[in-house]
Symmetry: C2
Subunit: 253 residues, 2 copies
Amino acid sequence: MKNYKLTIAYDGSRYNGWQRQGNTSNTIQQKLEDVLSRMAGHAIEIHGAGRTDAGVHAAAQTAHFKAQLPLTPQEIQNYLNQYLPSDIAITACEIVPERFHARLNAIGKHYRYRIQNSTVPNVFERKYMVQDAAALDLNAMHRAAEFLCGTHDFRAFSSVNRRFKKSTVRTLTRIEIERIGAEIRMDFYGDGFLYNMVRILAGTLLAVGKGEISPTDIPVILDSLDRQYAGITMPPAGLTLMEVFYDTPHNQE
Amino acid sequence: MKNYKLTIAYDGSRYNGWQRQGNTSNTIQQKLEDVLSRMAGHAIEIHGAGRTDAGVHAAAQTAHFKAQLPLTPQEIQNYLNQYLPSDIAITACEIVPERFHARLNAIGKHYRYRIQNSTVPNVFERKYMVQDAAALDLNAMHRAAEFLCGTHDFRAFSSVNRRFKKSTVRTLTRIEIERIGAEIRMDFYGDGFLYNMVRILAGTLLAVGKGEISPTDIPVILDSLDRQYAGITMPPAGLTLMEVFYDTPHNQE
């Protein structure tokens, strides 16, 4: 059996997220497994680096699957790109060591949240941005971002079920916020992200930009461990998983 | 009566082109006139700089309309952007001299044709590009472009009806062809373009890139005045009207 790593781009607009769920077939994972299984002639299960929610996009999601196939990685990639819907593309396919696991070996991720900060919509990228024309204080947003970076219990910034005993401690290594024309682009780098965490971080930073939350409120919100004090959960359309990081090259066995 | 100039961006994917046509309401012009007329309380007719075909996009189409409105240009722009569908946006609205005419005063246009030159689709821009993975000789395309620039009878590069007596002489001032990652971007600047001319120019240059047409065939094709010798009419999705040029600033009366 060989172990294959896929890098996948998708426009998540019309999908119920990444993860295959019971009889909901309209997920990215299900579309990939359908085409892969048809190619192989038997069922193939793929394992993603993580879920993305309904409507969230990916520039470079990763996944692995094990199979014995009479095709080169390039042939597999071409087959998938030929039969996948036009809003899902395989940007890379490579053979990796058998122990490689897309989720367990991931050491970090980069997410981007995009806001069209104008009364004029961006017609070409409207499905990948959320429009909000409010005047924003980027300096305040930068100060708030500094308070968010580092290792914290991010329970206040997640929609995680309180009864779950799993750790909600994560490390945000970097947040970049910049204005590019009418676009406000927020980039989040961290070792892992809780459920809805990026969308709540974006909503909180936006509230800071509008003066509804002060940068110095951020440590208080973090300490509260209480979801109600953070900003809103921003809509999924503005969110894109940009990259999944691994600590070693894994090109060949 | 005041004269207003609109600059309009649209994703043309789901429209029957720019121009209002009989009982086909699904055009950009019709959508604009519907919202403008609702705002004014009476019918308003707009005049575009030129037609774009079904499925063709615009980053900056222009149009003018005459009306007496109790609103500032900014208020008109905001109203339109609020009520237009999300794939049409007004990027500018200004008062211009009464003699300004969006089509008659236009002295040139810039069109862009985009090709995703890879077996990997571009999922995020798939509606604005046409995919063709063939190996392309860009040097040959540049040489062919040199033959196309200048003042010529472009009858061979148009779908114009032969019986029409209108001049088919146009001046192409510049063609730029460059590779940006997996994208081949062709920019066409000229004083005017015949029906389907940019899409046929793009199809011909693509055929040159593939070695199916030689750069030195271009003068022969031009001289033939015969549509059958030029390349195919490329699909509309790859084409975007980038800008309409006017020779004088017309910001205020």
